[in-house]
């Protein structure tokens, strides 16, 4: 547990002594990434895993994958021994898996605050916020296009969250900033408003290059040459297609030894077969090809094998979330990725609800639980996701982030120490007694049970007198409280100035583009 007690900035008028006293007591804590002490849930038998692995190799060998508008990639595959016809790459059985062997099973992503660096892989779980929504929602303002100011608020909320280990990437799309300059403002926000690890730009190879150069300013050129300081999201265009933009960004990052998540984004039944085993086969084939390609660019480049799969409502065609099929795929893919010896990315605060209501919470909890038990190592979208990913919700961000605390506690497993076994307490209390006053309870009660810092545990009458708030209402107050308590982490002014200069110069070098 890394902790930093900070003297919180006073002010903005008003307040009063009680409020100042409360504020000055604020501790900004970040929990260490989760180190699981519980088993993974293994839904598939070893025999079933072998069938899927064999079929995935058949897909790569017989059907192949397309690398679109990317002659360099085709040449790399040809040299590696693949059968390349036009843009179709057919990969001989076993070759992709063999190429994946040079990818590390685990790697460190450094943060500018070294206490917040994360180890991605093994039995660890690193939690990062929602990525990509063009809209935001809050209880008062409703649903609207996201702005850079919204973006900065989310980065601040992420920085203040005890249970988020990672600042993420495009926590929402700052639609008021030109498309070709957004990445600069987003990176600036992650680098200056937080000290947690973050993600780079992937929308153009040149923007990925900008991200590397900004990291060289933040961390130092030598440090970036030697270490991984970004993990970026490279989507596969399912089925079985790798486009030039995403591969271009991958090439930049892999060449710089920066990490990529290589992950299909699949709506089952549309971009993959309607069956779970068929989808697993395709996802494994895609991940094998993508990870293998990263190793052709630079053997040893750090990568995370991902699976983002939803099911579909066959009545409306809408993607659906928190469903049993999505859970089965997440569990099965976890097993397949572990057999590949790679870090695994999946799950998140997924839901299809328009509001941070019961639907949102059922679907999210189904997915978060699945993520924990499936052995996910990097969970993008771990908080704040709403409406199928179209919306980043301020209230849901803090609601989900609170639930992430429960994952930390669950992952610790069951304490089998003498204190955990509590035989002294059992002997002291005996039949018909009461544990609240016993010595063992007194010694342990502060840390015995996980406690939500958001949800309502009050007696009914107190809750009613407080206005009978629902969860969204409690979360709305929490968002305001957290943002009012936010204090920017210190950064060397020379570095901050150099970053500002870099961004200003880049922006001045090109006209605004909004598409």
């Amino acid at each position: 547990m890394t902790e930093a007690t900070t003297a919180v900035r006073r002010g903005r008028g008003g307040g009063g002594a009680a409020r100042r006293a409360e504020r000055s007591a604020v501790r900004i804590e970040t929990a260490k990434y989760i180190e699981r002490n519980i088993p993974n849930f293994e839904i598939l038998t070893p025999e079933a895993l072998e069938v899927i692995e064999t079929n995935a190799e058949t897909v790569l060998e017989e059907i192949g994958v397309n690398f679109v508008e990317n002659p360099g990639a085709l040449e790399r595959w040809r040299q590696a021994g693949a059968d390349v016809q036009g843009e179709r790459v057919r990969i001989p059985r076993g070759l992709a898996r063999k190429l994946c062997e040079t990818a590390p099973s685990s790697f460190t992503q450094y943060a500018r605050n070294p206490e917040k660096s994360v180890e991605i892989g093994g039995r660890n779980l690193v939690l990062a916020p929602v990525y990509g929504p063009p809209f935001v929602r809050d209880a008062l303002g409703g649903r609207r296009y996201a702005t850079i100011e919204d973006f900065r608020k989310f980065v601040k909320l992420g920085y203040m969250s005890k249970w988020l280990h990672h600042s993420g990437g495009t926590v929402c799309e700052p639609t008021d900033v030109p498309v070709n300059k957004r990445h600069l403002d987003m990176l600036m926000a992650h680098m200056t408003l937080s000290d947690k690890p973050f993600m780079g730009a992937v929308t153009e190879p040149s923007r990925a290059q900008d991200a590397v150069e900004m990291c060289e300013i933040l961390f130092g050129k030598d440090f970036v040459a030697e270490n991984t300081v970004m993990t970026s999201l490279i989507n596969i265009n399912s089925p079985l297609t790798f486009d030039a933009t995403m591969m271009g960004a991958l090439e930049v990052y892999a060449a710089s030894n920066q990490a990529c998540i290589i992950s299909p984004f699949i709506v089952g039944g549309a971009m993959a077969p309607v069956t779970v085993a068929g989808t697993l086969t395709q996802v494994l084939a895609e991940v094998l090809a993508g990870v293998a390609y990263s190793q052709l660019v630079r053997p040893g480049a750090p990568v995370i094998a991902g699976a983002f799969v939803t099911s579909i409502d066959m009545n409306s065609g809408a993607p659906t979330f928190g469903t049993p099929e999505a859970s089965q795929i997440t569990f099965g893919m976890g097993q397949l990725v572990r057999r590949l010896g790679l870090p695994y990315r999946s799950a998140g605060s997924f839901n299809g609800s328009k509001l941070p209501d019961a639907q949102a919470a059922y679907e999210t909890a189904n997915t978060l639980n699945t993520g924990l038990y499936s052995g996910v190592n990097f969970m993008l979208h771990a908080c704040g996701w709403l409406e199928g990913g179209l919306v980043a919700s301020f209230e849901k961000f803090v609601m989900d982030a609170d639930q992430l605390g429960a994952l930390h506690q669950m992952a610790k497993g069951i304490d089998m120490s003498e204190n955990g076994l509590a035989m002294d307490a059992l002997r002291e209390v005996g039949p018909g007694g009461h544990y609240l006053g016993c010595a063992h309870t007194q010694a342990n009660f502060k840390t015995a049970f996980w406690r939500s810092s958001l949800l309502d545990y009050k007696p009914y009458e107190t809750w009613y007198e407080n206005g009978a708030p629902d969860t969204q209402s409690l979360a709305n107050s929490a968002v305001d409280r957290i943002l009012s308590q936010y204090q920017q982490p210190a950064l060397d002014p020379d570095i901050e100035r150099a970053l500002t200069d870099y961004v200003d110069a880049k922006k001045a070098s090109m006209p605004d583009a909004f598409t």
Copy 2:
């Protein structure tokens, strides 16, 4: 899947042709109890299980349990070889476990509709509704004391639910009926308004006897003598205490070969140690003693070993739900009960929220998922629970019941048949193609994905034009729709008359009592 297409009763005035057409299409389906085709999640190592088992035997031998105001029970224990001092029963190491061996690992509870009989044990999961709340809540009426009319509505909702296999017991406390006559009206409702299996009365041994006699009318005396037609809830008074009322009811049921759930109701830190391993030790000791006692009453009597454990908010003393500690106990107890070879009861739609909001859904989903993966065989409280069990919520009943459908689908596991593997679809579509139109999708899309019948999957604009309903609002409409579609299952008029005569005579035989 048992199905019954029924011509639905028309009416109550109004309606119109469209509504009648919709109604006449209603199918009342009940899914078969869940037969798991997925593994259980095993959180404890075999070594850890042995430590807890050893410690539980130590608790029984050294500390013992109290059987209060029950000389007959003390005499049974004395004859079985226990050390009885006053009301304290110390059970020699191994004796309780040995006595448990005569309890069946699985048993059939018969319903009056034989298609709805359930098999409790093995890899099965039987779902029953909330039990015990003195209050009810709905969106329009708010929170209020429950009445027998509320009770009947819940029985109807349970009968109409596809995913509930069991009608339950005290779905809410009918507080407008005298305490000493409630069981008669409640049993009458389960027997006449539903044809699913149900639970008996436990608040007095004489009321348990009434339940047996009413079952003899409903099923026939010979049938009841030979078969189990009720499963009733016997709570242990933790820590380590068995009271005369509950044991009296257990004695009646066990003697009649009727099933009992023997289960502590524990608020961790108050009625058990604050640690998970300590609580597991106590719960195992309690269950061993209780199940062993049922076998002293009648060897072979069907029982379910239960664990109902919440954690506590050490700030307010309130019980908390859906927490990691509760999940750890549910997982661990599942392993311990399987090693005893008994059916397992745990989990449910637990939450501490005052409203059917996001808090309710997070906590409920955490618990439902835990229940599925922990190998629970009988899940009481599977839907409708609100506010720590003080409230039965109409909206939450249908919200949770909808989620229970997802458990059915998840439990099926992953289809590894040729159709499931979908290699033909992968070959047909290929890189860059689309699966929606392919032959495999066309052949499978109707059953490919679980689909909520309640939650919102609509496009944003449609949802907004429909009034932007939250989940509670959708559920409120669903409750009204389901109750308007309800049709009573047929029952032999002679039997119904005999039941009515029995209840009338019983009621006339005693004055009203409200405590």
